[in-house]
């Protein structure tokens, strides 16, 4: 019994020991085996990654797929310089997955006999075995420039206008100008030219005149636009009577007339005749022609050298004539020169006893004469009269003379708005003269003999560059007539590259004017102050850099020479702000596209969107340029190589 127990115990111990041994052997051996296998696969995976990352496609030019791709021209010389991973990535991410898969298969199956799989972004490029083992070694290759569903490389394009049709506005000012005292008749002829190839949409002539004895007896004789009488078509917006110390009632009138049918491309003429029995008749600030038209243009670059002529209107004033030309010199102008050429006709040459008295007076940006013939100034004219009866003053008219005067007025110029006033037989509120004094001008038919101011200057940078289109617009003040008057307006981002801007002042009666600009971030900045009473130009130049995107305000104040706001010299609501801004007629390279055509179409679409409605889309001539082979910086992404033993 005891033996059998011992025997049984031995057997149990033996079985236990054998079981323990077997268990230990069973647990230990596979671990070692799998470790060795893993290490071997890992080294293999590393080698494969090295091959993929370092060897060029040209090293495998004999493999069937690469060979056929070379033969059919798909692969070019530069493609053969790519690494294998780049080549596979290019095809895979460009959507040519079969080619990428075949290249992987043909190259890597010759490299390893083990199972492998090339994966990227959780997609399998190629797997040599269907079933995975439990132990898989993984190695990575990192590459930039690839992302699922994104093109590897493509085309970018830019487009630009070569010719276009734009809608723009041109404003032709009538300078404040008029007759002498008791000027029975004032004749003003405006000669001007519009571009030849335009289509006019609208032409509105604003009329601002001082005439007649009263509203009912107004002497508005003629308003002829290109031979068509328009005086009865004027719609009067504002009439203001005034009674001077001389006891006579006269009228300041502001109105407008539609002259769209009369104004034409090319040369135009507007002829105005007004009068007053005793006082002097004249044009007030704010008379201007506004023409809106479309214009075909080829792209061009702005000038850096400017020679501009500002022609006087032809003014014939019975017993005297005067005119006030305004022009501007930009703040960044260099080498500025200006000359004044005057062709003055039928001037009464007057004398007081033996003294030759003044009949011609010229002012340049000053209340003091720049030039005068004879011995007196306007302020002391009454001392050189025989007598004063009521408000008439007599001198001896000894002759009639016509003179041509030339002056260099460079030293009298200033940046911003400049004003040149010429007076013939006009002596303040006193009258001499007899003949039809004439400031002669006909820029269309006799330019060189016309009266003009010629300004020349240079600027460092062109006003606009190639690819930029200038558009001009006008914003009417609106509101009520008042003094002072403030106009607040918005400039959009699209309009914010302003290169020229003016304030057109519309007034009935006027004295001395002050034009200022202000914004939330800009304290009030005065851009013009009349140098003396009655020097109120039709337009005042506003430095473009004072205008910026967002809300801007203009304030116009009419004040008396010795202080105080002029109580009845209203600024009319038809005053306006004219501004010329630039828009780009070209777009640069945009997104990368799969084809040149798509890239170009995108560039054209962007161009059309950019130029907006002011440029006529159907008349755009577009040129474009595309660049190919622009790669995206997708990723970086990991290419994963998995290696395992065959099952």
């Amino acid at each position: 019994m005891a033996k059998s127990i011992i025997f049984t115990t031995d057997i149990l111990v033996g079985i236990g020991l054998t079981a323990t041994l077997l268990a230990l052997i069973f647990i230990g051996k596979p671990e070692v085996k799998s470790e060795i296998s893993f290490q071997s696969n890992w080294l293999e995976a590393k080698d494969i990654v090295n091959i993929l990352s370092n060897l060029k496609a040209s090293s495998f030019s004999d493999t069937p797929t690469i060979k056929s791709l070379i033969e059919n021209g798909t692969l070019k010389e530069e493609d053969l310089n790519k690494t294998i991973i780049d080549l596979i990535g290019s095809f895979w991410y460009a959507g040519n997955k079969t080619i990428a898969s075949n290249i992987t298969k043909e190259i890597l199956e010759n490299v390893t006999k083990k199972c492998f799989s090339l994966q990227t972004e959780n997609e399998t490029v190629y797997s040599s075995c269907l079933n995975y083992s439990k132990s898989i070694s993984v190695a990575y290759a990192l590459t930039s420039g690839y992302e699922i569903g994104k093109p590897v490389s493509g085309y970018v394009a830019r487009a630009w206008l070569t010719k276009y049709r734009k809608n723009t506005t041109q404003i032709i000012p009538f300078y404040p100008e008029g007759s002498g005292w008791t000027g029975n008749r004032l004749e003003v002829t405006k000669y001007f030219s519009l571009p030849p190839n335009i289509t006019i949409y609208n032409a509105t002539l604003f009329v601002s005149i001082h005439f007649g004895t009263s509203k009912s007896q107004a002497q508005f004789e003629q308003l002829v636009v290109n031979g068509v009488q328009k005086k009865n078509d004027v719609i009067w917006l504002y009439l203001q009577e005034a009674s001077g110390w001389y006891g006579e009632i006269t009228t300041a009138a502001y109105g407008y007339v539609d002259v769209t049918n009369e104004i034409k491309a090319g040369n135009n003429t507007i002829y105005l005749v007004i009068g007053t029995p005793n006082y002097h008749s004249h044009i007030h600030p704010g008379m201007r022609l506004i023409v809106t038209y479309s214009l075909s243009q080829e792209m061009q670059t702005g000038n850096q050298t400017f020679v501009k002529r500002y022609y006087f209107d032809n003014v014939v004033g019975n017993t005297g004539a005067w005119s006030m030309v305004s022009f501007y010199v930009p703040e960044n102008a260099k080498n500025v020169n200006a000359k004044l050429h005057l062709n003055l006709k039928n001037i009464d040459d007057t004398k007081y006893f033996i003294w030759n008295t003044t009949d011609i007076e010229i002012y340049v940006n000053s209340k003091y004469p720049f030039y005068q013939d004879g011995i007196n100034t306007g302020e002391d004219a009454q001392y050189y009269c025989y007598s004063i009866r009521k408000y008439y003053c007599y001198r001896d008219i000894v002759a009639s003379k016509s003179v041509i005067l030339d002056f260099d007025i460079t030293s009298n110029l200033k940046n911003g708005t400049n004003v040149v006033s010429v007076y013939l037989n006009s002596y303040g509120d006193l009258h001499w003269g007899y003949k039809d004094a004439n400031i002669y001008s006909n820029p269309l038919g006799d330019a060189e003999n016309s009266s003009y101011v010629e300004v020349s200057y240079t600027i460092d940078k062109p006003l606009f560059l190639y690819g930029e289109i200038d558009l001009t617009k006008e914003k009417i003040f609106g509101g009520e007539a008042s003094n002072p008057k403030t106009f607040t307006f918005n400039i959009s981002e699209r309009e914010s590259k302003i290169v020229e801007s003016f304030v057109h002042i519309a007034q009935g009666f006027s004295s001395t004017i002050n034009v200022s600009l202000f914004r939330e971030d800009l304290p009030k900045f005065t851009v013009f102050t009349s140098p003396s009473p009655r020097i109120v130009p039709e337009n005042v130049y506003v430095y473009p850099n004072l205008i910026s995107e967002g809300e801007n305000s203009i304030e116009i104040v009419d004040f008396q020479p010795y202080g105080g706001i002029s109580p009845t010299n209203y600024i009319l609501p038809w005053s306006s702000f004219e501004y010329t801004y630039l828009i780009k007629g070209m777009v640069g390279y945009g997104n990368v596209f799969n084809s040149s055509q798509l890239a170009i179409q995108d560039a054209i679409d962007r161009l059309i969107q950019q130029i907006g409605n002011d440029i006529s889309a159907q008349d755009i001539s577009v040129d474009s340029q595309s660049v190919q082979g622009i790669r995206w910086l997708w990723g970086p992404t990991f290419f994963k190589i998995l290696v395992w033993d065959k099952l």
Partner: protein, 321 residues
Amino acid sequence: MKGILFSLILFFVTIFLALFLITQKSFVSFYSSQKAVENRIESMIILSKNVFEDSERALAIIGKRACVSAINFIITNGMPLNSSNETLVELIINGTINSNPQPLMEGATVNDWIDTLENLIDLQGFQAKIEIQKLIIQPYDSFNLEIDYRMKVEISDLRTKTNLTKVQDRKVLLNIEKLEDPLYPLNTYGRIVNTIVKSPHWLNYSSKDTSNLLDDLNNSYYHPSLYGASFLDRLEGKYFVQQKYWKKNPIGLESFVNKDKILSVGLPIIVNLTNIDYLYFSNSNVTSYRIANMPDNFRLDNETTIENKTHLQIYNVSVIP
């Protein structure tokens, strides 16, 4: 007694074998964990190597986009760059020109690449800090730019408490072919576009058969040049190779200005001026000659170009007396 002895022997043998196997297992386990650490380090080394290799690929992509952005800026603004190599560096690093972002560089700068890469490496269980310590762009030859940069890559593994830092100087060549030559639009008010394409006929010209020369003229193909502005000079609107870019090997470019093309866009031409672009646009006062079997308005000068030859010699032409 014998049985007990036998059992004891068996027991001790079994214990010995068990101890042996356990020891082996612990050795293997130790070896495995050592191997795991080694593998992590190996992974870090491979990762670091990958980063350096990929930097070349990324720089090639970014560099090309920077060139296109620079050209875009010049053409749309009509103004050349002040210092093209510095501008290209600014574009590559920050994607800006004078601190203004350029659309084509959006998401495609070195900084973008570094950010993405660092995040990606983070996902693999490592931490990385990648730094471009200096980046220089200079001409390599007439048709290639050279981007030289020093890159520092620090990768650390918190699990194994190991880290790896490597600094390497690398170089990438950037081919400028198929890019626009900014000198043409700058000198033609943007009306003429010319793409840099290397002449397929270079040094294969004959005075008897001028068809290759004619093809070069019609397509305004590009040739290497000794003095003609290099690509970087052209980005600065310069006509000649500047001292700052000068190298021992020729880096300049020249093409034949197609005078008929200039006429066709409404611009005047100077017939008696050589067609060599940098001399034509700079209005250089060089004697130019009419060439036999070439268009009437084609002229070549006899200025020195590469290989110690003059233009008349290198293009192998006969002058019409």
